[in-house]
Every structure is written in structure tokens, then in C-alpha cells.
């Protein structure tokens, strides 16, 4: 807390190579960002674009066979290559994660109280009774009704939204500095989704955490984070202030993603716009721009080498060499 301006987490040129059955796959390439306390960052992209792999790399939870390059620093301390025993002391203590499926993220055999108190008992020197009191307070804070009465209940006795509140309580138990929320509301219905996101936002503000929110939902990203990164084929294709990206989209992929969203008030029978083609196999990525095969304005030089990031103003970066064309009308997408 000494220096609020010092970066809390600093990721530089992160790369992850996974060994899959189809051979080595470069799941993440050249991801860089920094986060200070209280800052929020959104990661958006379709399935298999490397969002979750990036999150797991931060948590040190990738399989042993994964090869990680680049650097991840937590308050200056390097995390890449940290032995697992040391990483165990950070996980759940300084970096926490909320998972996509609250139905499966809780152990069906243990009471929720035990599961929420667990990180406290593990990482701090509180007694069992104190941990239980703290668990009740946490469950109360995340809005679980009757927390003190229901602390000895089992996960199957709760609804999906309540279970997600419980996993949030688990993740927050040790007052982590960094919270990673991997599609925390994908498995929930829309009304609950809003409540859970509001709760997370409140908690992030209240505790001064840094948050990384992963989602494939542009609406969720637009409303909940200050900065965002669009990922495609393991690379960040566009990044910047959420406001700036949404007003001026530079990358053809971001524009395509935005056009593909369903709209209220569209004429009946209107087909959803899609991006032609499919996501490239990570084991078989093209040499140049990963989006080249699906891009409408692709040129020969796009396929030559991975395009550099072009700053289009106000730390808004676009990994495209044809921003002159893609942003000809100011990057405004209807």
C-alpha cells in the first residue's frame, strides 16, 4: 500500500505454449498490461482465444507441460518460474479467482462455511472459531440471506446465484490484491448476472483490489471495466480505455464482434451478423495476422508477419497495419 501509483501486477510479453494432442500450440503470444490497485481490466474474445489461459497463467495453474515465457510481476516480484509451493502461498491469498460454473466450483461434500473459511485457515493464523465468524461476515457481505443459519448447509441446497455469491466470498476471504473473474456470470440468468456484477464492482471499489474480468459478452465488458483488451488467436488485437475502444474500434475483429451482437428493436427476421470463417487452430496459427483468413480488408503483407501494435491515440492500441482503412470513418461501427 506504500505507493498507490506503483503497478500492482505487471505482465510483459506473456507467452504460453501448451502441449496438446495435436502438437504444441501457442495459446498466448505477447500479452502485456499493468494494473494498479482499484483498476479494472476486461478481457474479451470468443472461445479459445486465450482469455482463460492468460488467467490460469497469472494464477500459476497451467499444466506442468505448459511453457510460459515473458514476465508476470506482482509488486515487483517475478511469478514466472516460481516453484509451486511458493505459488500456493499466493493463490487465494494475494491473487484470487472466481470461476465460470458456480454449480461445479464448490465441493459437494463440504459445507459452504468450511469452504469459505478454508483460505483463511490456510493463509492466516486465525483460529477455527474466528475463521467461522469471518466466513459468516463474508457470506453476509456478499448478500447470502441468513448467512449465520445457513453456514452449515451444503452447496446443493443453494441456487446458482447464491452459489456464485459463495464462491465470491471464498475468493475474497483473504482480502486478495488481484481478483480474476473468469466469466463469472455466464452460467447465470440475466437478472442475477447484473446483481453479481454489481456486487463484484462494489467489492473491488471497497477493498481497492485490481480486477481482471474475462467475458465474451461485450455488454458486460462495456459496463464493468475501465480498460479492455480484445483477444484473438492468442494475441491482443486491440486494447485501450473501454470508452475509447467502444467509440472508435480499430481492429476489423473488434468491429466484427460488435456487429455480431444481437440488438433490441431489430426488425423481425433480421439475421444476426456473423464473422465469416472459423477461429484458427492454435496448433496451426498462420504466420502473419491471426485474423487474416477472416478479415475483409486483408492484404498480402498482413500474412507476412504478425502486425505490430499501432497507437491510434490515447494509449488505444490496435494490432493492425490497415487502420487507415479500418478506421477510415473514424472507427465508428453501426
Amino acid at each position: 500500500m506504500a505507493n498507490a501509483d506503483a503497478p500492482l501486477i505487471e505482465v510483459k510479453d506473456l507467452g504460453v505454449r501448451l502441449n496438446t494432442s495435436r502438437g504444441p500450440a501457442q495459446a498466448v503470444r505477447g500479452v502485456s498490461f499493468t494494473l494498479r490497485r482499484g483498476e479494472t481490466l476486461g478481457l474479451v474474445g470468443e472461445s479459445g482465444c486465450g482469455k482463460s489461459v492468460t488467467a490460469l497463467a497469472l494464477m500459476g495453474l497451467l499444466p506442468d507441460s505448459a511453457v510460459i515465457s515473458g514476465s508476470i510481476r506482482l509488486e515487483g516480484a517475478e511469478l514466472v518460474g516460481l516453484p509451486d509451493a511458493a505459488y500456493c502461498k499466493l493463490r487465494g491469498n494475494r491473487i484470487s479467482m472466481i470461476f465460470q460454473e458456480p454449480m461445479t466450483a464448490l465441493n459437494p461434500m463440504h459445507t459452504i462455511g468450511r469452504q469459505v473459511a478454508e483460505p483463511l485457515l490456510r493463509h492466516t493464523s486465525v483460529s477455527a472459531a474466528e475463521a467461522r465468524q469471518e466466513a459468516i461476515a463474508l457470506l453476509d457481505r456478499v448478500g447470502l440471506p441468513d448467512a449465520s443459519k445457513r453456514i452449515d448447509a451444503y452447496p446443493h441446497q443453494f441456487s446458482g446465484g447464491q452459489r456464485q455469491r459463495i464462491t465470491i466470498a471464498m475468493a475474497l476471504a483473504c482480502q486478495p490484491d488481484v481478483l480474476i473473474a473468469d466469466e463469472p456470470t455466464t452460467a447465470l440468468d440475466v437478472t442475477i448476472q447484473g446483481q453479481i456484477l454489481d456486487l463484484i464492482a462494489d467489492l473491488v471499489a471497497e477493498r481497492g483490489m485490481a480486477m481482471i474480468l474475462i467475458s465474451h459478452d461485450l455488454g458486460v465488458i462495456a459496463e464493468n471495466v475501465a480498460r479492455m483488451m480484445v483477444m484473438y488467436g492468442g494475441t491482443v488485437v486491440e486494447s485501450g480505455e473501454t470508452q475509447a475502444v467502444f467509440t472508435r474500434m480499430g481492429h476489423p475483429y473488434t468491429q466484427g464482434l460488435f456487429r455480431a451482437r444481437p440488438r433490441l428493436g431489430a426488425r423481425k427476421g433480421t439475421r444476426l451478423t456473423t464473422i465469416a470463417g472459423t477461429v484458427p487452430e492454435l496448433a496451426d496459427l498462420p504466420a502473419g495476422c491471426t485474423f487474416a483468413d477472416r478479415c475483409a480488408i486483408v492484404e498480402a503483407r498482413c500474412r507476412a508477419a504478425l502486425p505490430p501494435v499501432v497507437d491510434v491515440g490515447g494509449s488505444h492500441g490496435v494490432r493492425c497495419i490497415r487502420t487507415d482503412v479500418s478506421m477510415a470513418d473514424g472507427g465508428v461501427v453501426a
Binding site: 500456493c88 493463490r91 493463509h123 445457513r150 441446497q157
Partner: protein
């Protein structure tokens, strides 16, 4: 209107099913095959315990003068070719049966579950090594390994127990590793790792409790198989040695008199059938009762 309703629903959710274990016995009493299995298994266990304090006659005293008697008031099921009381032989035989089952399954469980858990937790070459070794062991039938062991150590109860126990290890390794791998792939294990737990703690706190019901069921079935294997080995003369009575030996003795007194083979055969059937029903019932998903529906 809505306030009392939700309050009632809230307490109802906490009270009866607060622990999945509560209500276990209530559900068990309604589960017919579990009840039957439990009764049969307890019957065999009771017979073994009874034989420790009382048998109608001595199971070891030979009285050739009263050999092959039909059932009577003195000998309820008659006597065998050496004049021993059949009821007493069956009671004492239950003892060797249960001892073989308990020790052999104990060997299989402790080594098999341990190795299976390590294989699932460590993955990589450790898992490969453990699985290939268990495949290797699995390739030898219990009877064959018992014959090999008997050739080295001499036939007897210890030899047969050891052979059956070793034969049970790979089954437990496979079941444990398979179901543990399924648990390791679950998101709550990832969540536990994200909470900073190491693989040892995850194995003990998350994996083992979640596969325990599978292991208990497997153990009862293996117990039945051990009883059959012991009977087979004793029948071949490789298991329990005379004068120690065992159901398999009784079958062996009865075989030469199959046309003279067929009932001599029926009694131990029925005893083996009761024990095996009881344990299988017990295992099936336990599988139903220990499954938390089924528990909620009942």
C-alpha cells in the same frame, strides 16, 4: 403472504437435509436389496462371531463311528465323512472366510487406493509406471499367483490371503485412479488450487471424500470375490489347510461323495452363495445410498 412462505422454505431447506448423512439410516431401511444384503452379511458375520464362543460340537474332533449321519436332533445338518458336525464346520468356516476377505481386501485397499491416488495426483511418468505395474499384476489370475506363491512359501492360509490380496491391488488402483482423475478434472479442484492448496491436501480433502462411496462399493464386491477365490484355492488344496475348516475345503471333501451324500456339497455351497450374494446386494445398496444425487431424489 410471501414472507412466511419464504421463511418456511428457508428452514425446511436447512433442517432435514442439512447433512447428506442424516436420513441415511431412514433411507437405508426403505432400500430392500440393501436390507437383504445387510441381513445376509450380518448373518455370516454373526456365525463367525458365534463360533468363537460356541459351536454345537467341536469342529476339530473326528468321530469316524458316527460318520455321514443324516440330519438329526444331535447333528442338525448331519456329519461329514470324518464324523464332524456340519453346523460346527460351517460356523468355524465362516471365520476363515471373513478373515481372508477382510485381510485380502485390506491389502488391496491400502496399497491400491494409495497408488491410485498418487497416480491421479502426480500424472506423467509416475502414473504410467503405476498403471503399467498394475496391468502386469492384473495379468496373473489369483489362482495362478497363489500356485506360484504356494510353490515358494508352501500352501496355507497366509499364502492364499497374500495371493488374493495382491491380486486385488490392481483393481483398486484402476478404480481409484479412474474416479480420482474425474474429480481432479472438476472445477472445484481448480478452485481449491486457486485457493492455494497443494496436491496432497486436495487429494485428502477433495478427491478422497468424493470417491469414498465408489471405493466402499468396490470393497464389498472385492470382498465377495475374495471369498470365492479363497473357496477356490481351498478346494484346490492351496488355501486353508486341515484341520482348519473352511467352506472351500468342505466342498473339496464333499466332491468324492457327491453321489453318496450330495448334501455335503450343498451346505458349504449355499454358505458361499449367501455370503457372496449378501455382500453384492450390500454393495449395490450402498452405491445407491451414498450417492448424494440419488439421496436428494428419494
Amino acid at each position: 403472504m410471501s414472507a412466511p412462505l419464504t421463511a418456511a422454505a428457508g428452514t425446511a431447506a436447512i433442517a432435514p437435509g442439512a447433512r447428506p448423512v442424516t436420513g441415511f439410516w431412514r433411507r437405508a431401511l426403505r432400500h430392500r436389496s440393501f436390507l437383504l444384503g445387510a441381513v445376509l452379511s450380518l448373518f455370516v458375520l454373526g456365525a463367525a462371531l458365534l463360533s468363537l464362543v460356541w459351536t454345537p460340537w467341536s469342529a476339530y474332533d473326528i468321530d469316524v463311528a458316527s460318520k455321514l449321519h443324516p440330519p438329526s436332533a444331535a447333528h442338525w445338518l448331519g456329519t461329514d465323512v470324518l464324523g464332524r458336525d456340519i453346523v460346527s464346520l460351517l460356523l468355524v468356516g465362516a471365520r476363515s472366510t471373513i478373515m481372508v476377505g477382510v485381510i485380502a481386501v485390506g491389502i488391496g485397499l491400502s496399497f491400491g487406493v494409495g497408488l491410485g491416488l498418487v497416480a491421479a495426483a502426480r500424472k506423467g511418468w509416475t502414473e504410467e509406471l503405476i498403471m503399467r505395474m498394475s496391468d502386469f499384476t492384473f495379468a496373473f489370475p489369483a489362482v495362478l499367483s497363489a500356485i506360484m506363491l504356494a510353490a515358494v512359501a508352501g500352501p496355507g492360509m497366509v499364502t492364499s490371503i497374500t495371493a488374493i490380496g495382491i491380486f486385488q491391488i490392481p483393481t483398486f488402483v484402476r478404480v481409484t485412479r479412474g474416479s480420482a482423475n474425474a474429480i481432479w478434472a472438476r472445477e472445484f479442484v481448480l478452485a481449491a488450487r486457486a485457493a492455494g492448496k497443494g496436491s496432497f491436501r486436495i487429494t485428502i480433502e477433495h478427491v478422497l471424500p468424493n470417491i469414498l462411496s465408489i471405493l466402499i462399493v468396490q470393497a464389498t464386491i472385492q470382498f465377495a470375490l475374495a471369498i470365492l477365490a479363497e473357496a477356490a484355492l481351498s478346494y484346490l488344496g492351496l488355501g486353508t489347510q486341515p484341520p482348519q475348516p473352511s467352506w472351500g475345503r468342505m466342498l473339496n471333501d464333499a466332491q468324492t461323495l457327491l453321489f453318496q451324500s450330495p448334501m455335503l456339497a450343498v451346505y458349504p455351497g449355499a454358505a458361499i452363495a449367501i455370503a457372496v450374494l449378501g455382500l453384492n446386494l450390500l454393495g449395490d445398496g450402498l452405491r445407491d445410498l451414498l450417492d448424494p444425487r440419488l439421496a436428494r431424489e428419494r
